[in-house]
């Protein structure tokens, strides 16, 4: 029997093989959303736990990687919802390039704060589209939305950010 069929039938060995094959890419996807290694590790395990529980609904002819990414995205979204007001965007997670020194630290903090305040579903797509520069189609596939709706959410996220920054009197034009 094929690996995916064995997994769908509840074979734990098959699940372990799939886990080892896909844990890195699930982690890599989640860490870019939550931007914290420890939380991303927990969410990777949570993702595979959900995958294992839903194994009977998995179509062995289907795309396991895409299915896993979608479940991982939902797990990350649940985390963003639950931790919306507590989560900081860590400064120490290696990123590329370093934040622009031309942007004043205070302004940067205000922008990060405004970004944190976005509703989870907007923060998710804005992170993937604007910061990680993932293509809209890939985000759409991972979230189960249409590419058009992803674009609308990104657009609304930018509008919300602008409104928040305007209310904070952040000097937008002065940072260039």
């Amino acid at each position: 029997m094929e690996l995916l069929q064995r997994f769908a039938a509840g074979d734990l060995d098959a699940f372990e093989v799939l886990f080892r094959q896909h844990q890195k890419e699930v982690y890599a996807w989640v860490v870019r959303i939550v931007r914290d290694r420890g939380i991303a590790e927990d969410l990777t395990v949570e993702t595979f736990w959900r995958i294992y529980r839903a194994r009977a609904r998995f179509n062995p002819e289907g795309n396991f990687q895409g299915w896993a990414r979608r479940i991982a995205t939902n797990a990350a979204l649940d985390y963003l919802r639950s931790a919306r007001h507590e989560t900081e965007l860590p400064e120490d997670l290696p990123s590329r390039p370093e934040p622009d020194p031309a942007v004043r630290r205070e302004t940067r903090e205000q922008i990060r704060g405004a970004f944190r305040q976005l509703p989870a579903k907007y923060r998710l797509v804005a992170t993937l589209a604007l910061i990680e520069e993932e293509p809209y189609n890939k985000i759409a596939e991972a979230t189960g939305l249409s590419a058009g709706l992803v674009k609308i959410r990104v657009f609304r996220a930018v509008r919300m950010l602008r409104k928040t920054l305007s209310s904070l009197a952040v000097p937008l034009g002065a940072n260039k």
């Binding site: 886990f19 990777t44 395990v45 990123s95 910061i131 930018v158 950010l161």
Partner: protein, 73 residues
């Protein structure tokens, strides 16, 4: 409010929050997975509970159906 303002927000965002580069998983998470699998009790799906509740209610309302149910089990 216009497209230029949106572009400016986008640029500021890009310069304030940068993409994550180090996305490498540093350890095998399978032991954690096994721990979670062993800790989680076998749960009865909500649908099964709902089905049992409906069946129980039907048997209370129509007790005459009990012999028929037992016959078909």
């Amino acid at each position: 409010m216009n497209e230029k303002d949106d572009k400016e927000i986008y640029e500021l965002l890009k310069r304030s929050i940068t993409p994550v580069v180090d996305t490498e998983l540093r350890r095998d998470l399978w032991p954690e997975m096994l721990k979670k699998l062993s800790q989680q009790p076998a749960r009865v799906p909500w649908f099964d509970w709902a089905l049992a509740a409906v069946l129980g209610a039907l048997l209370i309302v129509f007790p005459g159906a009990i012999p028929a149910l037992l016959y078909h089990l």
